[in-house]
Symmetry: D3
C-alpha cells in the first residue's frame, strides 16, 4: 500500500464536559497539528497517490472553518466533546467526502484508506484510520 501524507495546523479554543477531563473542563485551547494520509494500492500514471498540492488545499479547506475559533460556539459541535480523537474523525469524514467527490485530482475509487492524525502537544496525539468506501 502507498500513502501520501500532508500536514497543517490550527489554533482553537474549546472546553470539555465530564469529570474525566479534570482541569480541561475549563475553557482552554490547543494548537492542533493535523496530518492527512491518503492510501492507495497503486500509483496513477503520473507516479503519485494524489496531487499533493490538492491534498494541501483540501486539508486547508477542511480545517479553515475551525481555525481561530472557539469550537464550543460551532453549532455542529454543540452536543459533543471536541476531543482530539473526535476531531480526527471529523476531519476524516470531510476528507473522505472530498475523495468520493473526486476532488483530490484522481478517481476517488482508487483511494482506499485515509488516516488523520492530530497532535495536540509534543507528548500526545490521536489518529483515526478507515476505508474511504
Amino acid at each position: 500500500m502507498f500513502a501520501v501524507e500532508v500536514s497543517d495546523h490550527i489554533m482553537i479554543a474549546h472546553s470539555f464536559r465530564g469529570a474525566v477531563f479534570g482541569p480541561a473542563q475549563a475553557l482552554h485551547g490547543a494548537t492542533f497539528v493535523v496530518s492527512a494520509a491518503f492510501m492507495a494500492e497503486s500509483l496513477d500514471a503520473n507516479g503519485i497517490v494524489v496531487d499533493i498540492g490538492r491534498a494541501f488545499d483540501v486539508l486547508k479547506t477542511v480545517l479553515n472553518p475551525l481555525n481561530y475559533r472557539n469550537l464550543d460556539e460551532i453549532p455542529e459541535f454543540k452536543d459533543v466533546n471536541t476531543t482530539t480523537e473526535y476531531l480526527t474523525k471529523h476531519v476524516f469524514e470531510q476528507l473522505a467526502g472530498a475523495v468520493r467527490d473526486d476532488r483530490l485530482g484522481r478517481n476517488g475509487r482508487e483511494i482506499a484508506v485515509i488516516r488523520v492524525t492530530v497532535a495536540e502537544s509534543p507528548s500526545a496525539r490521536a489518529w483515526y484510520e478507515a476505508p474511504v468506501w
Copy 2:
C-alpha cells in the same frame, strides 16, 4: 480504528551479549522515548479512546522501575538482551495488563490493540503492536 498515543522517556544503562552487537556489548546507555498507543473501534460516551491523564499515569508507572537503572541488574532481565525491540514488548505486556484490569478508566474489553514505540536515537526506533485480547 481510533488511537490515542502518549509519550514519556527514561534514561537507562545496559549491555548486550552476542557478537552481533559489536561495541554495544560494553556497558552503555540510552534515553528511550517511549510512546504508547491505545486503539479502539469506537469512542466512549465522553468522546475519548481512554482518559489521556490515566494513559500518562499508567505509562509512567510502567516505566518507573526502569528509569535511572542499570537494566543488567534487574532480575527480570537477567537472561535476556534488553534491546529496544525487547523493551517494546515488555512495556506492551505491562500496558495490556493495565487495560485488562480496567486501569485506563474504560472497560478494557473496548481497547482492541496497543502499539508501543521506543525511539533510541534520532535515527533508530522499534515498535511492537498486538491485540490486547
Copy 3:
C-alpha cells in the same frame, strides 16, 4: 557561557485586540511549548548550571496558573494582548524572580542570563533573553 534548558507545555485560550491580528482577534487557543534556558559563566561544584529537577519544578510552578485557562479572564492580563512574545517575558520575570530568591538550588547571583522560548506551532516561535541582574 554555559546553559541548561528545560521544556514543558501549556494549553490555553485567549483573544487579541487590534486589527493587526486579523482572525486571531476571535477567541482561539494554543499549545505553547515553553523552554527556559538558564545561563552561567561557570559550573558549580557538582558540575551543573542549576539542578535540572528544580528547573523543571520552577518552570511548572510558573506555568501552572496559565495551563487550561482562558488568559482573557486572568486579571493580571486584563489590559494586554497575551501574545507569544508577551508571554516569553511574563515567564522570564517569574523565572528571574525564582533565581533571585535562590529557588533553583544555586546562589542566584551565579545565574547571569535567562532565555525563555515559546513555540506556538511548528512554524512560529518567540523568545525573550535578558540578564537576571
Copy 4:
C-alpha cells in the same frame, strides 16, 4: 508484530513531467529523509528483529547511488517521475531483495514486511508498505 526502523537522508535533483506537478516540472531538488522499517512476528535468539548496524549499512548501500545525483540522468528512472511515492517503492524493492538474500544478518524468511517512509519536507511525506514474500 515487531518492527525496527532506521533512518538516513539523501540530497537529490530531479524534475517531473505532467501538468499536475505545476512548478515542480522545473528542475528542482529535495532532501529526502528515508526510513526503513523491518517487521517480524518474533525476535531472534539475540532479542532483535534484525542487526541494526546491518540495517543502517544496507539502507546506505541502497541510497548511495541516488545521493548527490540528478535523478533525471539515471537510466533506470528515464521513463518515470521520481516522485516521493515512486522512490518509496524503489527503496522497498532494493531492501526486500537484501532481505531475501539474507543480507540483514537473519534468515530472510523471518522478515515479513518492510515499510519505507520518505519525508520530503516538514509538511509532506510518503510511504510504501508490503510483504517481503
Copy 5:
C-alpha cells in the same frame, strides 16, 4: 531582547565548484527549511515584535524566486556557490531590506537584528545573524 521567528521551506537544485565539496560538485538538490528571526528591544503597542502574518508573507516573497528552481541558472548566483551559508545571508539581505522599507508592519528602526537559519537535513544547518542598521 525579544525575537519572533517564522519558518517556511523551499526545494531547489544546485551544484558547487571546488574540490572541497566532493560529490556535492555534481548537480543535486535540497529541501531548505528557512527560519527568519526578527529581534527588537521592546514590543510595540500591540504587544508584538512584528506582525507575524506579515513576517510569513515577507519570508515567502523572499523565498518564492528560489523555490522549485535550479539555482545554477539564476543570474544573480552565477559566480557564487549557493551553499547553505551563502543562502542564509542572501535571505538576510532581502529581509533586512524589507525591514528598512517598513514592510513588516512596524517602524523598521525598531527592529535591531535579524537571524536567518537554513536547515539542509536533520543533521546540518547554518545561520547568519547581524544588525539591520
Copy 6:
C-alpha cells in the same frame, strides 16, 4: 556572524555523585545528541564557514572515545560528574583544539566561536559557547 552546525549522537552510561542528583546517582545512561556550531565573521573563498564533511568527521572523532562507554570508567572523568553541561565543554575543548590545529579545512584563526549543544531528552538540553582564541 555566520555559523554552520552539524549533529551526531552517542549512547553512554554514567552515574553522578551528590545528593542534588537524586535517582541519577545510580548507574544509568543517555542518548546524547551532540551539535557543534562553528562561527565565523566571513565565508571563505568557497562560500563556506568550514568544510561540512570535515566538521562531521572531527565531531565523530571527538565523540568516538565516549560512544558505547561507561563514562565512570574513563580515567579522564574520574574526579568529575559527567553531566550534560560538563560534556558540552569537554566536546568544545576538543573541537577548539581541532580548529586551532587547522583540522577543519580552513585557517583556524578565521573561526571565532564554537557552540556545543547536547540534548539528553526531548525536554532537556545544555550548551557551552565560547571564543576559540
